[in-house]
């Protein structure tokens, strides 16, 4: 547990780090800390799910251990692996010794390569464990996570059960490309992060791009809201709207109306057909 006493303190310390959490986010982080449960953050790409874990780590002054998920991730990459090379060397060095002595030796902690999950629970100081894009692993692999998530322990057949010396704060992120298993979801606090409201996006823009004028931030936030309402292949994320604000600033546009052209839309939207559609629907002029 950390020293956070109220959700308000969490928002404040996040804010100091440039992450504007709404009330719901800070409340869930607070509960996760108090109940010692993992957070499952879900939402469209680029709304700050990974950023949330990074910020929690910074705010709590803990090390961040990150497990990036991908198709084909297995226990050797996620939990632990035996260091074959070292074991072999050991066997060769001790040639002639009785097997019984050796066996106990080579399956000891010295020969274990810790991977992120094991590392997170064996760490001396409490850490923040980020399991990123958990929806990318196969449903069978999810089971690997369950033991870590509910009892903060890892069972190694040759060694026994390793229990956490300190409880890590766990954040899982998902882009919802597939449904996660019930077993996994049941163990987590669910946090749905969607695109921010106009007011919050305006504040985020002001926090991240301090040179931006208030009126311009508001205008950008509103244009982005309009763009998100269109049916696009990929709606602009928060990070893209920040990039767009920077672009407009760099171009010296002091009024969005002058800067909003098809030329800069490429910063906000990443597919040509999206750009064309947005330009058509919002009637954005195609040259300066």
């Amino acid at each position: 547990m950390t020293e956070w006493a109220t959700p308000g303190e969490i928002s404040d310390s996040f804010k100091a780090l440039g992450y504007l959490a709404d009330e719901h986010i800070s409340q869930v982080v607070y509960l996760a800390d108090k109940l010692q449960k993992p957070i499952l953050a879900e939402g469209p790409a680029g709304v700050g799910k990974t950023e949330l874990a990074v910020t929690i780590a910074k705010a709590a002054d803990r090390r961040l251990v990150r497990l990036q998920c991908y198709e084909g991730l297995d226990e050797a990459k996620a939990l632990y692996e035996w260091n074959y090379h070292k074991q072999l060397l050991r066997l060769q060095a001790d040639e002639g010794k009785a097997w019984d002595d050796l066996e106990g030796d080579i399956f000891g902690e010295d020969f274990l390569l810790t991977r992120p999950l094991l590392e997170a629970i064996t760490s001396e100081d409490p850490v923040v464990l980020l399991i990123d894009e958990v929806d990318r692993i196969e449903i069978e692999t999810e089971a690997l996570l369950l033991e870590v998530l509910d009892s903060f322990q890892v069972t190694i057949p040759e060694l026994g059960t390793v229990t956490a010396t300190s409880r890590p704060l766990v954040v899982l992120t998902s882009n919802n490309t597939r449904e996660l298993s019930e077993a996994l979801k049941r163990r987590c606090l669910f946090l749905h992060i969607s695109y921010p409201s106009v007011e919050r996006e305006r504040e985020i823009l002001l926090a991240r791009v301090p040179e931006l004028s208030e009126s311009m931030a508001e205008r950008i936030a509103k244009v982005v809201r309009s763009v998100r309402d269109l049916k696009l292949r990929k709606a602009p994320s928060v990070s893209e709207s920040i990039d767009w604000a920077r672009t407009l600033l760099a171009l010296g546009a002091d009024d969005v109306a002058a800067g909003v052209t098809q030329d800069t839309l490429g910063v906000l939207l990443k597919y040509q057909e999206d750009i064309e559609r947005a330009a058509k629907e919002l009637q954005i002029p195609d040259e300066e």
Partner: protein, 475 residues
């Protein structure tokens, strides 16, 4: 509090949101840590512990509003309103909506100033005066809501505000319009929660919740979905299509490796002095599944066809080898209209205007459509193809031509039929489902997203054509 929590959980389950015992216990543990007077905090705690899917948030919010709605105003305030009610009740009786117009003006001012406090008290006043809410009358909450909105003249207000926009460029115009929509939505939310608060005070939360229930997204009947519901369904289809895609690709189970790669194993062993320590395996061959879709797009299937094409569209974005055929009483290849980077709206328009899917009279004729497929496109079905047919098998009393389907089934790896009609109506009237069943690996009733989900979950492709032949013979 625990009592309120259990009835809240009961309500969620009643609507169809799955809440396990563990999750309910978590919720109880969570509320120990929060300030119960803080409604927002309570909502966060319950949402984080009880809801595990984004599409259930809507149902959660609706139930939350009923069970843990806005606090009642202080007693003095309530009295003031009642007094006001008495006074204006008499006045309003004669002069009609005059009071309402003034109220709406005040509300509009409060909205534009962003003044939550006075907005709330004005809405309270509006609901007292305009809803005509009488204790004990078993009328649904929506009725009172619309009545207040209508008598306040919210629609006229929207028109006035829209007319008052002075923006010279189109973008500014659009933004101003969206601002107005957002403001009026805020008003709607206020009115709705105030109506609910009063109803709950009158009848109790359980009773009110019952009148306000609406089906979850996954339980909406696709044949009769409204346009708005379809739009929401569209979002849910994406992940499902991806799941279907992975199921069809039928990856080997995790951990199962390919054959031993002798060359690499020996080369690797050199670094351990020739000990074969670290065997290397060839990556399993990736199966390249092919999907052939046959969609009935006739009039009776209009809404469902839109949904299946939506599904097709998402599938086509994942798979390069999807072939799509649409039919009414003739069948045409419409694959070029779908695919990565295409727009669903355009695809549907092209389908109607360009594809040759009508032969005689534009009534479904499964026999002829299948005949068309066998004559022109049978070569596109291979031993790797999964054929998916969506339709109600209502062939308007024409020859079902099940021989054609049998030909397709023989060539394909698997053949599935999704029927959007309730199973009890199959084989009644002109439905010839039974004639086709023997040739399908599986025939499913798919009327809701939930049923489609079950189909995808249960989907196990027959591993080899031989195995399938046995299965079909048994059936």
């Amino acid at each position: 509090m625990i009592g309120a929590l259990t009835s809240f959980v009961d309500e969620l389950r009643e609507v169809g949101v799955p809440v396990s015992m563990v999750e309910a216990i978590d919720a109880a543990a969570a509320i120990e840590h929060i300030d119960l007077a803080d409604r927002q905090a309570l909502r966060s705690a319950l949402a984080a512990t009880l809801i595990k899917q984004a599409r259930h948030i809507g149902a959660f919010d609706a139930a939350f509003e009923v069970f843990f709605g806005t606090a009642a105003p202080p007693e003095s305030d309530e009295n003031a309103i009642t007094r006001l009610e008495g006074a204006s009740g008499a006045a309003a009786g004669g002069s009609g909506g005059d009071g309402a117009a003034e109220l709406m003006e005040a509300i509009a001012a409060a909205l534009q100033a962003g003044d939550q406090e006075s907005l709330r008290s004005l809405v309270r006043q509006a609901v007292s005066q305009l809803s005509g809410l009488q204790p004990g009358r078993p009328v649904g909450g929506r009725y009172y809501f619309y009545r207040v909105m209508q008598r306040l003249g919210v629609d006229q207000m929207r028109q006035q505000l829209l007319a008052a926009i002075v923006e010279d460029d189109a973008l500014g115009q659009r933004i101003a319009e969206e601002d107005i929509t957002a403001l009026l939505e805020m008003l709607e939310d206020e009115v709705r929660s105030e109506v609910i608060r009063r109803l709950v005070a009158d009848r109790g939360a359980e009773a009110v919740a019952r009148t306000l229930r609406s089906p979850l997204l996954e339980d909406i009947d696709l044949m009769h979905a409204t346009r708005e519901e379809l739009a929401r369904i569209e979002h849910a289809v994406g992940p499902l299509a991806r799941k279907l895609a992975t199921r069809l690709a039928q990856r080997r189970r995790h951990g199962q490796k390919g054959r031993l790669d002798v060359r690499r194993t020996i080369r690797r062993s050199l670094q351990h002095g020739g000990v074969l320590l670290d065997p290397s395996f060839k990556p399993p061959r990736k199966s390249k599944p092919e999907l052939v879709l046959l969609c009935d797009v006739s009039g009776s299937m209009a809404t469902f066809a839109r949904f299946t094409l939506q599904l097709t569209f998402s599938l086509a974005a994942q798979f390069s080898n999807v072939k799509v055929f649409a039919f009414v009483d003739a069948l045409d290849d419409v694959t070029p209209f779908f695919g990565p980077g295409r727009d669903l709206g355009n695809a549907l328009n092209q389908l109607v205007s360009e594809a040759r899917i009508v032969w005689q009279d534009g009534h479904s004729d499964y026999g002829h459509a299948l005949e068309d497929f066998v004559t022109d496109h049978l070569d596109k079905v291979t031993a790797r193809s999964t054929v998916l047919i969506t339709g109600d098998a209502r062939s308007n009393y024409r020859d079902p031509n099940s021989a054609a389907l049998s030909q397709i089934a023989e060539k394909a790896r698997a053949l599935y039929w999704l029927n959007p009609e309730a199973q009890r109506y199959w084989n009644t009237g002109d439905s010839v489902m039974a004639r086709y069943v023997p040739y399908c690996d599986s025939v499913r009733e798919v009327r809701t997203i939930r049923q489609l989900e079950t189909f995808v979950e249960d989907l196990i492709l027959p591993s080899t054509p031989a195995q399938r032949a046995v299965a079909l013979a048994h059936a």
